[in-house]
C-alpha cells in the first residue's frame, strides 16, 4: 500500500485527483477521495504536495 488516505480529513475538493498524472484517484459516491487504480501509482507525491487537508500521504 503506497497511498495512505485519511478519509475523515478529506473534504472532497478533488485537487489531488486533478493533478495525479496517472489518474489513480477519484471521488467516491460520498465525495471522499479513493485510490481506484493504485497499481498505476508512481509515488510522485503530487497529491500529498497539493492536498490542503493533509488527508493523503505517499508512503515510500
Amino acid at each position: 500500500m503506497s497511498l495512505k488516505i485519511i478519509t475523515e480529513r478529506c473534504k472532497g475538493c478533488g485537487i489531488c485527483a486533478a493533478f495525479c498524472p496517472k489518474q489513480v484517484l477519484a471521488l467516491s459516491e460520498i465525495e471522499k477521495i479513493e485510490a481506484v487504480h493504485e497499481e498505476n501509482c508512481i509515488k510522485c507525491g503530487q497529491c500529498e504536495l497539493r492536498c490542503p487537508d493533509y488527508a493523503i500521504f505517499v508512503e515510500k
Binding site: 495512505k4 475538493c13 478533488g14 500529498e48 504536495l49 497539493r50 490542503p52 493533509y54 500521504f57 515510500k60
Partner: protein
C-alpha cells in the same frame, strides 16, 4: 521526515480536520510553513506564531508552537512585542490580505519601516472569505465580490511593492501551486535578519472563485500555475506578455539596513553606559 510525521510533530493533530472550506489553499500554505521550519531544524519552543483574524489566521490554532491568535489586524503589534521581549525567538506572523493590508495596513508599513526581524506569511486569497466574500485591498480590479456586485472599480495594492517601499528587507511571492518554491521562500524569509514578507497567493473557491466564475479548487490552482511566472522569466517578458500575470520568487533583498531589536539593544547599552 515524511509529511505525515511533520503533521504529527508540528501540528495539533487533534484539531484536524481544519475549518477551511474544501479546496482552500490555506492548508497548503500552513503545510509549507511547517516544512520550512523543519528544513531549518528550529526547536518548537524557539518559534512563535502570531496571527490576526480571518480564515488565514486560524492557522495558529492548528500549529503546536508558541502561538497567539490576536485581534483583527493587530498580529504585527503583538509580534513586535513578542520579538522585543525575547529577540532570540523566531517570530512568524500569519495573516490574510484583509487583515494585513486593510485593518492592519498601518501596522504593516511601520513594522516594515522599523525592519524588525520577523517573517510575515501573507495568505492572499483576494477576498474576505470568513465574512462572506467582501472585497479587500488585494482584490484584483474588475473582480466581483458581495460588496461589489458590478465588480470592484478600485485598483488593488501590489503588496510586495508596498512592503518594499515601506522598508521591508526581504520580499518574496509564491502560490499554493508553487508549494515547493513557497517552502523555500518561507525558509529564506525566516533566515533573513530583518523584516520579511512572503505573499502566498491562495485560492478561495467558495467566496472568490464562485463569484468570479473561476471553476473549482483544481481550476484555481491551475490558474496560479498559468499566471505566476518565475522572476528570471518575468524579467525577459514584454509589458504585453506581463499583462494579468505576476512574478514569483525573491523580489527584493537588502542586507544593508540595521535590524530593530539590534538597534534597540544598542540604545539600552548606550543609555546604561552613561555616554551621551
Amino acid at each position: 521526515m515524511s509529511m505525515e510525521n511533520l503533521i504529527n510533530k508540528y501540528f495539533r493533530p487533534g484539531r484536524l480536520p481544519h475549518i477551511w472550506c474544501p479546496g482552500c489553499g490555506n492548508g497548503v500554505i500552513t503545510g509549507c510553513i511547517v516544512k520550512a521550519i523543519d528544513k531549518l531544524a528550529l526547536e518548537k519552543d524557539n518559534v512563535a506564531v502570531i496571527s490576526g483574524i480571518g480564515c488565514s489566521s486560524r492557522a495558529s490554532g492548528y500549529l503546536d508552537f508558541n502561538t497567539v491568535h490576536s485581534a483583527h489586524g493587530r498580529a504585527l503589534p503583538v509580534a513586535t512585542g513578542v520579538k522585543l521581549a525575547d529577540p532570540s525567538l523566531k517570530v512568524l506572523v500569519v495573516t490574510g490580505d484583509g487583515d494585513a493590508t486593510a485593518i492592519g495596513g498601518n501596522h504593516l508599513i511601520h513594522a516594515a519601516r522599523r525592519n524588525i526581524d520577523m517573517t510575515v506569511v501573507l495568505f492572499n486569497n483576494s477576498i474576505y472569505g470568513m465574512t462572506g466574500g467582501q472585497y479587500s485591498p488585494l482584490t484584483p480590479q474588475g473582480s466581483k465580490a458581495t460588496t461589489a456586485p458590478y465588480a470592484t472599480i478600485e485598483p488593488a495594492f501590489d503588496i510586495t511593492e508596498l512592503a518594499k517601499a515601506a522598508g521591508a528587507t526581504f520580499v518574496a511571492r509564491a502560490t499554493t501551486f508553487h508549494a515547493q518554491i513557497l517552502t523555500d521562500l518561507i525558509a529564506k524569509g525566516i533566515q533573513h535578519k530583518g523584516f520579511s514578507l512572503i505573499e502566498a497567493v491562495s485560492g478561495c473557491p467558495i467566496s472568490f472563485g464562485r463569484q468570479n466564475k473561476m471553476g473549482g479548487p483544481a481550476d484555481m490552482m491551475k490558474w496560479q500555475r498559468d499566471h505566476g511566472v518565475m522572476l528570471a522569466a518575468w524579467n525577459k517578458m514584454t509589458d504585453e506578455q506581463k499583462a494579468g500575470k505576476f512574478p514569483i520568487g525573491v523580489l527584493h533583498e537588502d542586507n544593508s539596513r540595521k535590524e530593530y531589536t539590534e538597534a534597540y539593544d544598542e540604545l539600552i547599552a548606550r543609555a546604561q553606559g552613561g555616554n551621551k
